[in-house]
Subunit: 390 residues, 4 copies
């Protein structure tokens, strides 16, 4: 029985090519990359990995293709792309993606190189599949690519329900069965059939609530930004960890390397002995120029704050998230026979966007003992009002 038991979708049947892809070291590596990186420091049950998530995305892609009556080699390519869509992730997933982007110039969606280097491409060719076509689908290109990466992709359907199952927070539990049954194409674009404005809204709402309650929980953000700083230190030091080696690490490799080479931050992350919020500022309290801050300027600001506060540079973290985006607002739904963007069809989109903006926070983090000094210095250096001190 070539099937795998999954706690979310029950049994997942594997095609021969999927079974072979599963056995490649590059895919097995996903067993060692947690889906939600530092979120499990808040929701301890959330230790699930990108391995089972990838299986889930493969499963939902199979279901969607079957409802869309796509089969043959077109379906094989999509299923392979669904399975492989995360093999380009570095250790701790999204947490290290900007580091890899800055230093290797590569986004995790760019899996072309990875699948060639790791031999996955050979496995694909053995089954008469084209590696470059699979890579394009992972980038969301083409009609069928929208299923893998787009506003209505099966990736987000899986992660929302899976993260809900593992965190215990119910809000991600969308009706993926209805979603995959309602997909269709109009003029080459993936759309939801008539009668599904509410279904589309539910995707948006689920992500909106999960963002606030789970994905952007401040404790997870603190741990995540500590991990980023530690990883940069590791790469900056004179030791033999190059960016390509770094990008192929799994979570455990990075955790051990940090413990060895950046012991203070590494140990704190491992023991959950985290920095605290010195400053926590909403959008209206944040001067506009801070929003576009380059990475180097952010680092420079940290050094200024550390100087002024009389603490070590490593004891100040400035974390300025991007402005929130809601990709789902472009999802297309058929309303009265006409395709509309969700944003046009639903008054909720604007409100969710506003709520996401309301929830946006610039954070400055520091060890508990240095919190007050860092807060004062940060308010001065960043030009923030005094009320943002915690």
């Amino acid at each position: 029985m070539n099937a795998i038991k999954d706690s979310v979708h029950d049994w997942i049947t594997l095609s021969p090519v999927a079974a072979d892809l599963l056995d490649t070291p590059a895919f097995q590596r996903l067993r060692h990359i947690k889906q939600l990186s530092t979120v499990r420091l808040v929701y301890p049950s959330a230790s699930h990995t990108r391995f089972e998530h990838s299986l889930g995305v493969y499963h939902l892609a199979s279901e969607a293709l079957s409802h869309l009556r796509v089969d043959g080699e077109r379906a094989d390519h999509v299923r392979a792309a669904a399975l492989l869509h995360d093999v380009g992730h570095g250790p701790y997933g999204h947490q290290t993606e900007e580091i890899i982007m800055r230093r290797a110039g590569r986004h995790h969606d760019e899996i072309g190189g990875v699948i060639e280097d790791t031999g996955i491409a050979d496995t694909l060719r053995d089954h008469d599949l084209s590696p470059s076509r699979v890579a394009k689908l992972v980038r969301g290109e083409g009609e069928l690519g929208q299923l893998v990466s787009g506003e209505l992709d099966v990736d987000r359907m899986d992660y929302l329900v899976r993260d809900a199952h593992h965190t215990g927070v119910p809000y991600g539990s969308i009706d993926h069965g209805r979603l995959v049954r309602s997909l269709g194409y109009r003029d080459g674009e993936l759309v939801l059939a008539a009668g599904n404005v509410r279904t589309a809204e539910s995707l948006l709402l689920a992500r909106g609530l999960m963002n606030g309650i789970v994905y952007r929980h401040h404790v997870s953000r603190i741990a995540g930004s500590m991990l980023e700083r530690a990883a940069e230190s590791l790469l900056d030091r004179e030791n033999d960890v190059g960016i390509e080696q770094f990008a192929r690490m799994a979570d455990h490799d990075l955790l051990v390397a940090l413990g060895e080479h950046v012991p203070d931050l590494g140990g704190r992350i491992e023991r959950r002995d985290l920095y605290k919020r010195a400053v926590w500022a909403g959008l209206s309290d944040t001067p506009a120029h801070l929003l576009g801050l380059e990475h180097e300027d952010e680092r420079a600001a940290e050094r200024d704050i550390a100087d002024r506060a009389g603490v070590d540079e490593s004891e100040v973290i400035v974390d300025v998230p991007r402005r929130p985006s809601m990709k789902e607002s472009n999802a297309r739904v058929v309303v009265d026979g006409v395709v509309q963007r969700l944003e046009e069809a639903s008054g909720l989109v604007g409100a969710i966007r506003a709520a996401q903006r309301d929830g946006w926070r610039l954070g400055v983090f520091a060890p508990e003992s240095e919190r007050e000094a860092v807060a004062s210095a940060a308010v001065d250096v960043l030009g923030l009002p005094d009320r943002v001190r915690r």
Copy 2:
């Protein structure tokens, strides 16, 4: 072991007074009143009853009281009110409440008379509880009454998760564990502790989505309005069903009485051989005067339409729902130390309200064979644009 197994909250421990109240015929009657009346014609698994819902509300009230550190006879009264809050319902619950209101002048929340007449009051007195105090709590009066009936009451926490469990539609799955842990009082008003704007919004969103997808599904509305008309016919005929007797019926009593005395509509409901939508009109297509229509005027309009369409009066149903209200928008949440109404604290409230308005529909229903004739007549009689015909 005085505990009952519930599929939603697992084991529910009963206090001695709760155990005695359970044994009264008036409470046992709730076993025979389905929680979602005609919704199960759309979602067949939704056959749960007000009996287990009442147990669930009792359970959540116990949990909330324990977190609020309320005990002794104050807690006993609240728990009794939570358990009994639905004993005033007529057959098919909300579906007959307006009939009972019009003919007996009594809302289902007015349980004072019912509990005296049925002997429940004696059981309460046997345990040194005051029936009138329990009745007041059911009406939401007083500080603790807000727990039983109010913007943050445990009634809605239970029905949302229970309806989600039984319909299979996930959107009602709110985090009731967090809600009951976050309740508190400020100046005599029930509030959610700081950090819970998202939690409060989730209540609103859950109800918003469940309204659209479950509670106001058009098939359930059609069956519900057929049931209402049939019940009115039953009461209007010269037979011995008086309004007080009617109000004490259980679902099965009414279904059999309809089958006997109003066989056409009764049989159709039982066999799910339902009328269809002849007209389906949004708010912007509906002339303002129709919104405030009295019951008698609605009936007169039906007769006019039937006349004009040349069909029997019983073959036309005009269903004009009230404008949607979102009670949860008044829920109080502590934000930065200050109590705010959710409406002030969250930009979502306005959008949800708009979405509810968008989803509002006036319906005219008729047998499939008469649909076209009825649609034409309805458009004329009600002054609707032609595009609302189905």
Copy 3:
């Protein structure tokens, strides 16, 4: 979208013939027959019906057929049989089947007459399906009939998980996904593939535990036997309820008829004001001749006991269940390439059978106030040892 949301299997896709069968009055009637009759007096959430169970069996049959690679009209017949397998049930399902057997000579599996009389057969013929072939499949005849009724049938797979979901008792939660994937045929017999002895045992264990904890709970047995006596009274009285009319009743019809014509027992069932155990005797305490007692002898014994105890005949119920059988012990499993009956392959079967025998009880039930008198009389009349009195 021709699909129905189910709280157990999520979305169930309907074929055109299934959709038409669903709309027949005889199938819609199953909405009004609870799956577990009186069990909900113990587990209040268990109000699910044979309607959704039938949909579930249809769904699992579809899955099994797809894994077995059976399609075309053979599959259509099996799916129709799966959907229709319960249309022959009387009101309250198994609770009235012996009454119908004794008076109409018909088992609920004999659906041939029912589907002709109710027009279901015409719907089948409209889709080029043979009613008699469907009826044979429901009786478990033929190779594919084993899927519908047999040791490894999809009927029991659905009811175990569904009853677990609705009662909240976890023990029925078998791995139906693995079961339907492991089915195969050997020499015309349905078997489980190699490696599935544990899987087969799990079916047996699930039913064993559910029997003890749910299906044969003494409170449900008491209510059930009260219902049987009341139904016999109804049929015995000089009123116009004939056995054929009785057999086509739904739960609510029977409950109302009992309330009208057998008000004492009917009212007690409705209000859950149940008889209690006067005698509760295990197998070793029960004289052998009682085990084969004919229905008439059982009634005669009740009259004797009532006489001796000086109570009304209707206040004594003697309930002698059949010896427990474990049909699953004949399930066939491939072990080391050879087909074995589960009984041969697993040492558990004997033990489960022994445990079922251990749990067997003869009961004599009476109103609380008459319990002692009835117990004494029953011990005398039935020749039981004194220790079986409660």
Copy 4:
């Protein structure tokens, strides 16, 4: 709100001492030790850790204590023991416990030393709790110790349901709510109240099924024994990993150390490139002397087999599990007022024991390419019949 969200028990409320214990590095380390070590190579969703399991055990202990009406400092000690019961585990939990036993002479239940060395003892003393009393409770000593470690302990209640939730295999889903409600003491022994023979059996059956389907799955056993051999190599080599350091490692530390120092086996485990079964022998095929084999003799047999097969010593693994034991068979249940051991009260115990014996297998594992040669050699060296070759 001092509460943690758990995907199994929902919100878990922490007492002040529990909150402080959670913050100790020795407890945080449990975040990095998976509950089911190598099982996730078969059931990929099973990545949960001893951290959340420990929280779950703490939660169930609290519930049991509340039903038993034990409070004050006695309850505080039990709750602390429940929380800490796994801090003595080495990396990969049970998988390394025999290594640590052989080399450090310490069982994971012996937490006295660990809690002194790691500062946990100080935290306990800060809250006026006695570290030695906590350590005794973890060993199951005393009346209340049975709650933490015994036939009816809350440890097994949590792991069964948690492992079911995370693997997706339903059989561990016991009714822990009923179990904790049914506990009581008789003459200083923990017992289940009358009416719970089935409940006690369900514990046994759950573990029996989970053993066969999950815990002792052959793929997990192969990976586990590879891990053990690799860990022994690590400890045998001339590098600086001492047994005490080893015992304090977390999973990721060990995985990285193996990758560095025992790259072949380490890499195979990480990539799930596992040995296969060369020999798989049931009890009746296994000569008696093999059952009592000392560790050294097992290693010697491996060397003999390797010699004879002409392969490297590291390519042969002989895995002889202990005879299965079913601790639950000693669980005490009240039957007819008398305390009985489950074994006396239930005929199932013997059968489950027999089924466990039936499922017992001696395994010899080797790389796929060497499987045949190793099988021949193993049959010769171990004196096994030829039919045990795979």
